[in-house]
Symmetry: C2
Subunit: 221 residues, 2 copies
């Protein structure tokens, strides 16, 4: 139903994908950016294909030559977010390697950087949490979409677990529990804090619970 096979790979090398012209890629990116803005503003249900195409400066026809449906676009949006998420985390890992060379000991700033990378791009004011809630509702009411989405999310979490596990090893640290479970708990705690901030109308996510969880989850190797 959806091109989930392309989504779950999270390939960073565009040569792995079917050839897409740079122009077509720019069109897709503009449609994705416009959709993110429209979904956050009016909600997934109320966002028409016309409104999304219009916000991107394209016709309805251009939309459908790039995406099968509004749902397919949403999956592509989440896949893009996942790819950016993993890329941000890998960049954080690359930066931290220098820290490891300089000081081979438990570094709370390093842990905070990892945490920031895990939750990157998902701050309340970005509209991400709101959009995500919209898609959750859609997925809960339309099971076929939900299964594809969960497959995508689980693949992203598995990749995050691997990256974090290697990162901690390089810092002389380890998770106190299975890395996949640790990532599930970290993302869950982040989502709960982001939800509270979004609902209360607070601009910042309160860090206390996340920091307490990091202390429980990470120890010296």
């Amino acid at each position: 139903m959806y091109p989930i096979q392309r989504c779950i790979g999270y390939s960073h090398d565009v040569t792995d994908l079917p050839a897409i012209s740079p122009r077509r890629e720019r069109t897709r990116e503009r449609l994705l950016d416009a959709a993110a803005e429209v979904f956050a503003r009016v909600g997934f249900g109320a966002a028409s294909v016309e409104a999304i195409a219009d916000a991107a400066g394209f016709t309805r026809g251009a939309f459908y030559s790039n995406f099968e449906s509004k749902e397919a676009l949403f999956l592509a949006l989440i896949e893009r977010q996942g790819r950016r998420h993993v890329a941000a985390l890998e960049a954080a890992v690359a930066r931290l390697d220098a820290d490891v060379v300089r000081a081979r000991h438990l570094n709370s700033d390093a842990i905070r950087s990892v945490l920031a990378a895990v939750t990157q791009g998902k701050v309340p004011e970005s509209g991400w949490y709101l959009m995500n809630s919209e898609f959750e509702l859609l997925a809960m009411r339309a099971p076929g979409i939900g299964a594809a989405w969960m497959a995508q999310q689980r693949a992203m979490r598995a990749e995050l677990s691997g990256v974090l596990d290697r990162l901690l090893g390089g810092l002389g640290l380890r998770f106190t529990t299975d890395p996949a479970i640790a990532v599930e708990l970290l993302l869950g705690a982040w989502a709960a804090s982001a939800r509270d901030a979004s609902v209360a109308g607070e601009p910042e996510v309160a860090p206390e619970a996340l920091e307490a969880l990091v202390d429980l989850l990470i120890t010296e190797a």
Copy 2:
């Protein structure tokens, strides 16, 4: 804007509340039950006051003589859920006291009972998670409602923290972190697991992450 002062007390003694006739109480309960069903089926936005009144077997007028608005009814619904939640937890505590008398040691079944009590009434198939997501979206788009809801949720969590802290003490156990943070992490992990199950269309919440968190959060006193 909302009768939040009445909500945040979570009083279990009806004599604390302004006198409400048993008949009026039954009407309110039927409207709340009907609303829960209608919200879960069509969503908060699409649920009309007429549809809720109709499902309960009442007129639109009866609705408005009991609730100021659909939003006020939703807060009352969440307040009722919170009251039931705390009552279930207190019942679990009462049952566990007998265990403490019989065997004064760490009891993983006891911990599982606590966990079941914390998450009671919030299984995916109940429609609760779906309805909660609807309200989250509403609250994120209408800040006045969000603030009232968060005040109510924080009061419920504070009550849960107190109950769990006393319970653990009675079992010779303690939280490894601040009880309020522990409850926030437990509820966050539960919500994340319930969300995954709801989105994937699975009937049961996977317990692994929650159990790992309980192991990290609870230790012998």
